[in-house]
Symmetry: C2
Subunit: 250 residues, 2 copies
């Protein structure tokens, strides 16, 4: 059943109102009619099954017929801090990371980031990433849309780390050195409801100075297995491992 995110005030006790681009998606892409069923989520914990009553030019009205408890959010809140990568890799990371359950993406400008975000393009880039996150969240049956946060410096990221219960650095030197247990130990120390920040360098990796700065801020360097992963694969590894640990190994 097709899923759409709406704002909290678009979900009354009895009725869901869908506006914006989703109206076109319902009427033209999915070619739905009144009587068809959809799922709406307010991104804040409420998910409902609805029956479409009316499709107008700019608004779809649907009657709520069931309150759902999909329970599709990861038990721990994972934020991916990604050193700005080349090309469209960040779009890839946001799409796949959303499918795999991340609650937020924090891009940061690392020393070895080749890409710089021009200030006048930031808003457009974030908008595009937010759209990708929304569509991936709908497709994956998520209950919330992950946040795409404004880009930070490495120093800004080190300060941001203080908000989290656990901070991990994906560090390939650890992978090369055969360090393979620390990530599992960190996950074992986390409990459901807690938050974790995963820091991942850009293509060239993090510099030693960046790693030191993050370690001083409380981050733990971890290897993600003995193979060297591309930057865009590291986030997916971390999220899949966290899902396996907290959702499958019960």
């Amino acid at each position: 059943m097709q899923r759409y995110f709406v704002t909290e005030d678009q979900l009354s006790p009895t009725t869901a109102i869908i506006t914006g681009e989703d109206v076109k998606h319902i009427s033209r892409v999915m070619r739905m009619n009144s009587g068809d069923l959809i799922i709406c989520s307010d991104g804040a914990g409420r998910t409902v099954k609805c029956q479409i009553e009316q499709i107008a030019e700019n608004q779809v009205t649907a009657r709520i017929i069931e309150e759902l408890k999909p329970n599709t959010e990861l038990p721990v809140k994972v934020t991916i801090a990604q050193g700005l990568p080349k090309g469209d890799k960040l779009e890839f990371i946001v799409q796949k990371g959303t499918e795999l359950g991340a609650v937020a993406f924090q891009p940061f400008s690392a020393s070895r980031s080749v890409v710089k975000w021009e200030p006048k393009k930031v808003e457009k880039k974030v908008e595009r990433l937010e759209k990708i996150a929304k569509e991936a969240a709908e497709q994956a049956y998520r209950e919330q849309i992950p946040a795409v946060l404004p880009v930070k410096s490495a120093a800004g990221l080190a300060a941001f780390a203080a908000q989290f219960d656990m901070v991990i650095i994906a560090y390939e030197e650890e992978a090369k050195a055969n360090e393979q247990q620390r990530f599992a130990q960190c996950l074992q120390a986390l409990t459901p409801g807690q938050s974790i920040l995963i820091m991942i360098g850009p293509e060239g990796g993090l510099t030693e100075a960046e790693v030191s700065q993050f370690v001083e801020a409380g981050a733990v360097p971890c290897g993600f297995g003995p193979r060297i992963l591309r930057t865009e694969t590291a986030a997916l590894y971390a999220l899949a491992a966290i899902s396996y640990h907290f959702e499958l190994m019960r």
Copy 2:
């Protein structure tokens, strides 16, 4: 250090001979000279550090200076059976699946596969996927290049399953039904050295008839967490979870 795969007979007790496209990569892309260090692997368990002695037009000769034991292969042998997906998704799955440790990819033509491989294009397609696997294996520090097997029918895949110690079906109906422990139970039953086949449907999923056919052949339907993953994400989830289980949780 840059890594190259050679054939077994290109690796003598004392010397490595590099031929083919890697010669251009060494001389023109990496701009290496005699005296520079590289790593060569024969894809059959022997990996050596070498010093380049001579760069000729079609051949690089290097002196072996150290036998290495990188130990970067997954403890269990994972083959990904992928229902033919749309567009360039199979290339993506082979690249990322190689990074994450798969030993083979078995494409299969599922009922809901929109894409069909025209017989006269199969050879070219497999060649291209093999090239992607080789480059990803070099980049990831793998000790072997995963095999890309000729496409099979669903019936052919069911027969192929008999060769494996464990066969898993990624089945989103199980994910929707909140079945979340079976995959972990299956991994707990596997021991290092054993083989596992992961069957993944195309975009539209597997049909019930296909699932029945695979279950009759001994496959176990498993959910990969409660979110619905795109077809190209399922293989990565499985491989990351297997790495986490066998390499990190020791």
